[in-house]
């Protein structure tokens, strides 16, 4: 799956989790850019991303993510 293809699916996940069809994210997006992205919703986001791509992040991976770009890097690494 290319980075672009991942973003297509990832945007849908963001739109569902934050219930806003206008959300699009990119490598530089951080939590503060998305309305409602607090620590509790972060959990839902991670679970939804895992389920969407059929992967399971390790505990360490999900705590240190700086932006969406890093999340996509992890997804690519898991998809191998």
């Amino acid at each position: 799956m290319t980075r672009e293809e991942i973003y297509v699916k990832l945007n849908e996940v963001f739109q569902d989790v934050f219930d806003d069809e206008d959300i699009t994210v990119n490598d530089a997006t951080v939590a503060a850019d998305v309305d409602g992205w607090d620590s509790l919703e972060h959990i839902n986001l991670i679970v939804a991303v895992e389920r969407c791509f059929g992967i399971k992040f390790t505990m360490g991976e999900t705590t240190g993510l700086k932006n969406v770009g890093e999340m996509v890097d992890r997804i690519i690494a898991h998809l191998g």
Partner: protein
């Protein structure tokens, strides 16, 4: 909403929860009951609350939540807190898990030390439950403990007193004993739900250490669904009846085409055995008070021939009503509902044919039509939906089917009398009309939550409320139990209200007046009023005030107070009316045939 019925897609629910919530709240014509639910958590509860809300809204229950601060379940329960006091919960859910067990046995502990540890752990929980019961007199739901995801002692973890599994099983046993001994206390059996989900997937240490969720976030829908079953059962939102298809639902094959000798039922082959197990499962519901009916496209003769097979577990007599004809099934179910006098929305319709399912689901609002799938999944799909979640098995339940049957016999008998009063007298009715008594509290609470039609104020009460009113000297409470020559109808009428001084008068306000529709037109409401008046007089009450609050379902009692000889004093635009009875004037009883007490 289909997405919230089993088999549902947990990932979908978690991901779309906000959109689902919006959709639920946008539905029209839903008569919600509002309930205040306090969640006292020993771990994170945020998503548990949000997903639970979806399932409850789907059951017609609109929750308002109090959520304890993280891991403050013990403090909130035992020491209370002003915010929770002001919230005044209808129901408290204590969300603790195996993660909240402070001390497990060490391999070096003596049996006495382990016994002491059990008592210490139990003592802490009993302290919580007792404090909640004392402070809020409300329903309490408590998780039991899930099995651990590792076994230090291997298989001996089960048998050896030092094993965690052994310890948890002992605690669960004690929780069970407590629940058996206490009313208004229910166990949310996460030990079972986690086993179904997979104990190791459920535990997910990652979600525990990152988010302090004591169960995997992905398991929350299963958890919340199971919890919602108890809550909706407590508030009278269980289903009451089955409407069952026959061909390829109760047996394999089509009785009209194949002939009764060729349908698959009994023990001759795998398919027959499968259908037999399903019939046994259905039949077992009868003892729980669930009414069995048939809605089948068949000639009646063929349908009955299928049931007449000696190896058919279900017999003709197990069914209250059998509609086997060629009318559409939604019409048959609607007619059945009318004849039994329960709502069509309290049916669970079981049919192997998706076309029939879709028709019935579209035509009858609120009916449950599970996607039963292949015959080997029928039991799982019906059972996992918790339609008939049991919170207590009453005498009423066990007798219910027989009572409805007796009712239909009464209807036949009434046809042979020319004068209705004469018919009533022939029923040889005797009633017990008395203040709320402990043995009937559960039934009385159940009636306040289930009765919609013959219900003047539609006030919903928990058992704890009912007990509170019964104990309050400012209240008069009465239940009515009616027996006749066809059988015992059980408790069928309930009223209560409170007194208030008003100038020189002493007023009595009727807060609730309801009657089960199974005893309509028997004069029971008049016998009840006679008793209420006599009790009121003995308390020097001078005026009785009655209220009618219209709902979509209670038009039949619009003129209730007029028939009881009250005078209308006010009528609002929405149809609400207020009525007065002056006790200084003589009152003519409408009861002609019931012998009371």
């Amino acid at each position: 909403m289909k997405q919230l019925e089993y088999p549902y897609d947990s990932d979908f629910i978690l991901r779309k929860k906000k959109a689902i919530r919006r959709e639920l709240l946008a539905r029209e014509g839903i008569q919600y009951i509002d309930k205040k639910i306090a969640i006292l958590g020993g771990s994170t509860t945020s998503d548990i609350k949000q997903i639970l809300e979806l399932f409850l809204l789907n059951y017609g229950i609109r929750p308002e939540f109090y959520e304890s601060e993280y891991n403050q379940y013990y403090q909130d329960a035992v020491f209370g807190n002003p915010e929770l006091d002001e919230f005044n919960p209808d129901l408290v859910f204590v969300h603790t898990t195996t993660r909240n067990i402070a001390n497990f046995p060490k391999v070096t502990d003596s049996p006495e030390q382990i016994d002491a540890l059990i008592e210490e752990t139990m003592g802490r929980f009993e302290q919580i439950w007792k404090a909640l019961a004392d402070r809020y007199q409300c329903t309490v739901i408590q998780n039991n403990f899930e099995q651990p995801y590792f076994r230090l002692l291997g298989n001996s973890d089960f048998t050896n007193i030092h094993g965690r599994l052994n310890f948890i099983n002992r605690l669960n046993d004690r929780f069970c004993n407590y629940a058996q001994a206490h009313q208004n206390f229910f166990i949310n059996d996460i030990n079972y739900v986690s086993a179904v989900y997979g104990i190791k997937k459920w535990a997910d240490p990652g979600d525990w250490y990152r988010y302090k969720y004591a169960l995997s976030v992905s398991a929350i829908p299963d958890f919340a669904f199971n919890l919602a079953h108890i809550i909706k059962a407590v508030y009278g939102r269980n289903k009451k009846a089955f409407a069952l298809d026959m061909d390829n639902t109760l047996w394999g094959g089509i009785v009209g085409d194949d002939g009764p000798e060729n349908i698959r039922i009994g023990h001759e082959d795998a398919e027959s055995e499968l259908y037999t197990e399903f019939q046994q499962y259905i039949k077992a519901h009868k003892d729980l008070g669930i009414l069995l009916t048939v809605a089948s496209k068949n000639d009646e003769e063929n349908a009955l021939a299928g049931l007449a097979r000696p190896d058919s577990t279900l017999k003709k007599d197990d069914f209250l009503i059998i509609k086997a004809n060629w009318d559409n099934k939604d019409i048959n179910i609607a007619n059945t509902a009318k004849e039994i006098n329960i709502g069509a929305d309290s049916f669970v319709f079981v049919d192997d044919n998706p076309v029939e399912r879709a028709l019935v689901e579209n035509q009858i609002q609120g009916i449950s039509v599970p996607e039963v799938g292949a015959p080997e999944t029928y039991i799982d799909v019906i059972d996992s939906n918790g339609f008939f979640e049991v919170t207590g098995i009453s005498e009423e339940d066990i007798k219910r089917s027989g009572m409805y049957k007796a009712n239909m016999e009464r209807a036949k008998a009434s046809a042979s009398f020319e004068n209705y009063d004469e018919y009533l007298r022939s029923l040889e009715m005797t009633a017990e009309i008395k203040p709320f008594a402990p043995v009937y509290m559960a039934r009385i609470a159940e009636l306040t939550n289930k009765s919609n039609q013959f219900n003047l104020t539609t006030k919903r009460c928990s058992q704890a409320d009912i007990e509170k009113f019964a104990a309050d000297p400012k209240f008069i409470t009465l239940y009515g139990r009616l027996e006749d020559k066809f059988g015992d109808n059980g408790v069928v009428a309930v009223t209560f209200g409170h007194e208030e001084d008003y100038g020189n008068d002493k007023f009595f306000h009727i807060d609730l007046w309801l009657m089960s529709c199974r005893v309509l037109k028997r004069g029971m409401e008049f016998a009840m009023m006679d008793e209420l008046i006599s009790q009121a007089k003995s308390k020097n009450i001078t005026m009785i005030k009655g209220y009618y609050y219209p709902t979509a379902k209670n038009k039949m009692v619009k003129d209730f107070y007029e028939l009881q000889g009250f005078e209308k004093i006010r009528e609002m635009e929405d149809g609400t009316s207020e009525w007065l009875l002056d006790l200084s004037k003589p009152h003519k009883s409408g009861n002609v045939a019931i012998k009371v007490n």
